[in-house]
Every structure is written in C-alpha cells, then in structure tokens.
Symmetry: C2
Subunit: 400 residues, 2 copies
DNA sequence: CAAATAAGTCAAGACAATTGACTTAAAAGA
DNA sequence: TCTTTTAAGTCAATTGTCTTGACTTATTTG
C-alpha cells in the first residue's frame, strides 16, 4: 500500500532563483572581463539595461562592486565601469597533506592575504584535528585584524586533501595514504569546530579550481589540470564547471594502470614527487625539501634529470590520454612541484604525442605551465567557497 | 580607441526562462519516474502545488501529458497521475556509417516507430547526401501516415557519425575513416534539405544518449558507455548531461595509445569490430555481417573466442581507466556488436581490474550490458532532439 | 459519523524582469 | 558655434510567473 520509492527530479526555480542566477552571471562576467559598464553587462548577459542597473545598485550597496573612473568611448554618454571589490568577500582555504597542513585567507578576487602552515603530528585525525583547527583559528584571527568586515564576509572554509575518498585501500595503514583521514568525518568536525560552511575536494581538483579562478584556466570552459604533487591526479574543468564524478574521485589518474618496462604499474609510482623522492633517496618529510628539489633541479642535477627523463615518458602519455578522452582547450601542468622542476618536465615532455588536440584552429598551447608552488592547493581550496557563494543555490552574503 | 575585445559572459535569465526551466523539470521527472500526480511533482520539484497545476494544465493543452486513472493511497483525496503522451513529440534519427545509413522515427517516450536503411555508395558526401536525404524523406513520409500530428510535432533531426571531427587525420583518404564526411558541411546541407533543426554527435555519444533516455543509464547522472562498433569510443554522461568536450571529440578513446605486446598501438586496433573483421578475414561490407557474427559467436566459434580473449584484455583495461578517470556510477557496454558477442565479451572481461569503483556502497554493477543492436546509434541520434526540445534554451513545441 | 489527512483549486499578492519614453553627455558634421 | 547623432543610464508603468492562504473535494481512521 505504502509506496516508498523515492521520486527523482531536479529542482524547479522561482523569482529568487532567477535573480540569484542573474547576480551570479554579472559577478562572473566581472571576474572574467575585469571592469565593465552597465551597458556592457546588459549586452553580454542579454539582460535589459534596467535589470542590470537594478542588480548593480544592489551589489554596490552590498559592497561587492564599485564604480571606477568614467571612460569616453566615442559618441554618447561616457560609460562608468564597475569592478569587483576585493574586500567584498573572504574565504579560508585549508590543505591537509601527509605531514603538513596549510591555511590561507583569500579575498573575492583571489588575492592571498595570509598564509600559515604547521606540521602534522603522526597519529592521523585524532592528533591532527586540534592542530588544524588551531591553524584555521590563527588565520581567522589575523584576517579579522587586517580587514574589519572580514568576519561577517567570510563565506566558508574550503578543504583540500589527497583522495580517493570512500575506498578501502591496500596498505591502508601506510601513513602516506592518509586512509585514516579519508575515513574521518572531517566535514562535520571542522564545521562544528569553526562554525563555517565547509567543503572538501581532492588536491588536484583544488588546483584546478585555483587555475580557473585566477590562473591559466581563467575563462576556459574545458581544461584539465595535470597535478604533480606527492601523488598525481587530474583536476577537471568540464563545461565550465569542476567535475568530481559520482563520489568525488574523478580525475584520480595516479591509480591508472599502465604498462611500463613490461610490467603493469600505477602512474603514481612512475611520475609523482613520491617517486622522485624515492629515486633520490631523500626523506619526504625533510622540512626544506621543496627548496632542495628546486635548487637541485635548477642546477640540472643529473639524478633529477634522469628522473625527469623517465617521468616525462609517462606524463607525455598522460597528456595524450587526457587530450584523447576529454578534448580540452588546453592541459595545464600544476601542483606542488617547484618551478625549476616543472619547467624542465614540460621541456622533457616535448614533443607531445600526436592526438586529437593537433588541430589547425588551436588558440592555446596544448600544454602549459600553471601554478607551481606549495600553496597552490590551499589557494584552490580557498577559491571553492568564493565560487560557491555566488552560485544560485547558495547565496550566503547576498541576503541580509 | 575602439575596444573590440569580446566580452565573455553566460546569459542571464528572465520569467520565460524560469517557466521553461520548470516545464522541462516536470517533463524530465515524468520521463524518469513514469506517471506522477501534481502533488508528487510539487514535492519532487520543490515547486508549489499551484505552480505545478498551472504548468500541467498547459502541458495537457499542448498534448504532452495526459491524466490516468485516479489512485487511492491511504487517507485524503485520491491522486490523479499524469503521464507523458508518446505522440506529444517526434524526432528523426540518422546514422551515417561507412557503407550504410539508417534513419528512424521515435516518439516522445523513445518508442521506435519506423526504421529504414540504405547502402551508401562509394564517393563520400557528393554521392551520399542524396541517398541520405531520400532516406530521411521516406521515413518522414511514412511517419506522416502513421501519426497525423507528426509533422508539426517533429522537433528535429539528430545525426550520428563516427568522429573525430575537425581533425586532419593520417590516412584521410582511407574510406573507413570517413574524412570526407567529417570535412563536409553536413549540418547545413541536411538543414537546408529538410527544413529541420539538425544536430550532430559521434556514434558513441549517440549510444550514450539512447542509454540515458531509454536504457541502462536512465536516471543516472554519472555513467560512461563503452561503445564497441566498427570503431571504439566512450559516450560520457557526466553530471546528468552528455559531455562532448571543446570540439565534440570527448570520449574518442579508440585513438588512445596503449602498450600491447611490447608495442605502442591504438585501442581501436585491438578491440573494435574492425579488428574482429580483420582477425576473421571477413569483408566488413558484407550485408549480412551482423547476423553472421552473431551466429558464429553464439556457436562459440573458436576464432571468435580467440579474438574475444585478446580484446577482453584491452577492454578490461579500458573499463579500469574509465572508472579511474570518471568515477561513474556504472559503465555500460553498448554499440553495434551483436548480443551474443557482447555478452561473451563481458564474461571474458571478468574479473574486472581493481579500481576506485570497488566500493562498499555500490548499488549498480561496475559493468553492465546496454543496447546491442545495429539501430542503437540511430536511436540515440533521434533521442537527442527530443531531449533538446525540452531544454529551456530551445522550447520548440511549447510555444504556439 | 466526526475527525484527520491529502489532493487539488481559487483569487489575491509579491517579485523580478521588460518596455518605452526620457535625461544626460559626448562626438561628428555643417 | 550649433545641431544632429549616438550611446549610457534612469523613471514609471506593465507584464509574466511564482507564492500564499483559504477553500473544496474525496478518502481513510477510529
């Protein structure tokens, strides 16, 4: 008698939805194109001048946009461009990695205001959570000092962590796999501990978010970030949005099996920083490892070059595969690798393998260099709540 | 002085957009769940009862939905379920393949009403276009006889063809590559020749569209169709929508390079029907090849089993790769392969390689069998305009 | 037979975009 | 210099669509 089969449907929309969408479209357009006049915005969004005017007035009152000097562009009344106000919104980004955690504060346009890091003690979430919460609190306190409005304009806490999520892995007790963290109710704990909206993504996705917001993927609808960090992964920007798959694990190409030297192995074992550390015989936990690798790479250390030579083979194949499968506008190499290493990797990957990306009408390079600093992941983590806050479904700072 | 840099922005929306969205949401919900009452729809779409009532009244007048017998479900007034009217819309699907072309007519719920095929003469579009147009016309004429309303409820012509598009390929003069067709202004020609809205997708994408509309991917937001036809490809349903990449070539995994037997080769050369035909030494142009393969596979022909054994290795790897990269809810094997062959392929692929898809909370099999008949591609091609017609941006039959 | 429950309608109201006329400010041409 | 043209932006009224709250209808429960 009782029919309990759930009904599947997407949500309908109403006036508020319409309005929220239009506000978001305008903010997006400003982020993408810099300052624009009301008339420009009306043309670009295909809304009427009046609608744009109304929305801009609201946004100005909300402190999200501000007018600039008028500009004369030929006949007619000069236009008044409006730009985003950096202090219009803030977010905190948190990276949790194997032995270190980083927290940063960013503003609406993606400027990094504060960055702090701390070592994570062994013992997983039980001992790590207090450290993480403490770090976030420090950043938050400092942000409050720097910007009076910050606390009430704080739209959320974005967290990035290596994936995959929700999988019982082999070697789950290996501290480098972070299985304990992945099983831990991190969202709930951080949400309760900070009172902020918390979102979680994997590190490659965070890098892609950062590249899309303020990097090489800015304004692109189809781009893939090949993330080379301690592990390896791909951050997917598909159809203008970050794609995370059914369980948040899309793009975990580090676990892809490939035949190398006649043996089936995982990409991660061939081309990640983990494989480099192993190749060099250095301790991944050494505190100055980033600058060490940077220096040795810059000096064309033969051991590093040997690894690059080998890793480039597999990365070249990865780019070919990404191009073949996703048909993106460009592929961006990014992540926690030092710049000297990353540039040498890109050079060693040339010439790229032939693929569908060899098109006569290409506008962008097939492979380009993205952010290469240890803070990129935290930056992307912070960018997520900012992007999210202007999504129609979640308009936190616009109501009040 | 003249600033001609184009402004990039997404489009805003208005009341009509809201309404079109809500109508589409309702039609989607009916397609997904079968018949639903107004109250059910209101709960599922989070619209008010009144709004749903208004929209349903319109849809009923437009002939897209019809009420069914009332049902008593406990206390309260009995509910009146509404279902989609199959004759509410029609579309024609066209498959253009190497030596054959197929056209079918479908209705709103995906029933195939008419199917016709014709051999394509050698000579590419110059000689092929008249044949194709003739075939479409025949189907259209017959459809008119079958359903009086058909002509004015015809929402478009969907075309499917092997990809990739816009690439100058090696061996472009090879008639199996269809380079001449891919360079030909097909959309414009067919649009002019039929007066219909024409859309184009590759054959794997068409299969995925069909699976989503009426097959194994019905109601799924994340599914990948591994298409094994003359070539091999993947149709991607990501986040509830078909994904085609920046140039319509996403999912062309047939061109992915892999190491097999110590040599770098393309997946297509190992696991497509083309490779089977070559293995068997049969002429791919033989008119009864489909049933021939079906019979031999069903009889466990040793030559076929040998090919299956070999192809399964690479397909198993493909599934692993797809799962690793896309994190889908399920992978569906579909395409132009006969059922006897497809089931044996799936069996030979077991056990699947370990991947992120090995989850404790799985609801669907990792790999399942989809449509396996020569008409699946045409069916998907036809499904595209139907799906598209209820998109907010293109509400063809709703205005009038 | 009354109370509870749920489906569905009615009519008024609220919200947000559109429309068309208007104002303002500059460049171009006579 | 003065008029015309062009474009930005505003004002006030209108329109389209969803929401609200009270109501009606039909059924089960006790």
């Amino acid at each position: 008698m009782n029919d309990v089969r759930p009904i599947r449907a997407t949500s309908g929309t109403n006036h508020e939805g319409t309005s929220a969408h239009n506000r978001r479209v305008i903010i997006d357009a400003l982020r993408l194109n810099g300052a624009l006049s009301r008339a420009d915005l009306a043309r670009a969004t295909r809304l009427t001048k009046q609608t744009v005017s109304n929305i801009m007035e609201e946004l100005e009152i909300d402190g999200l946009v501000i007018s600039r000097e008028t500009v004369r562009r030929g006949r007619g009344q000069p236009s008044t461009p409006y730009g985003l106000v950096p202090e219009g919104a803030f977010a905190i980004g948190l990276q949790i990695d194997r032995h270190i955690t980083r927290a940063i504060a960013v503003d609406l346009v993606g400027n990094v205001l504060i960055g702090k890091e701390a070592n994570l003690p062994v013992g997983g979430p039980a001992t790590g959570t207090p450290v993480v919460l403490q770090l976030v609190q420090e950043v938050r306190t400092e942000l409050k000092l720097r910007a009076a409005q910050a606390e009430k304009r704080l739209v959320g806490l974005g967290v990035a962590m290596p994936g995959p999520f929700g999988i019982e892995q082999d070697g789950d007790d290996n501290p480098w796999m972070m299985g304990a963290w992945q099983r831990f109710p991190l969202l709930e704990t951080l949400s309760a501990g900070t009172g902020l909206n918390v979102t979680l993504q994997n590190d490659a996705a965070a890098c892609a978010t950062a590249e899309r917001m303020v990097g090489a993927a800015h304004g692109l609808d189809h781009a893939v970030c090949l993330y080379v960090g301690y592990g390896i992964g791909a951050g997917l920007i598909l159809g203008g949005d970050l794609y995370s798959g059914a369980h948040g694990n899309a793009g975990e190409i580090g676990m892809a099996l490939l035949t190398a030297g006649g043996r089936l192995t995982q990409l991660e074992h061939r081309a990640s920083l983990a494989s480099l550390y192993e190749h060099l015989g250095v301790d991944p936990m050494a505190p100055d490892i980033y600058s060490l690798i940077d220096r040795r790479a810059a000096a064309d250390d033969p051991e590093i070059l040997a690894w690059i030579e080998k890793a480039a083979i597999d990365l070249r194949w990865s780019v070919h595969l990404i191009e073949t499968i996703f048909d993106p506008q460009t592929v961006i190499l990014c992540g926690g690798a030092p710049a000297a290493l990353a540039t040498r990797l890109i050079d060693a990957m040339q010439p790229l393998l032939p693929s569908n990306a060899d098109r006569a009408d290409r506008l962008l390079p097939r492979l380009q260099l993205g952010m290469t600093d240890p803070w990129a992941v935290a930056r992307g983590a912070a960018a997520e709540p900012i992007g999210h806050a202007f999504d129609p479904r979640f308009s936190a700072i616009l109501k009040s």
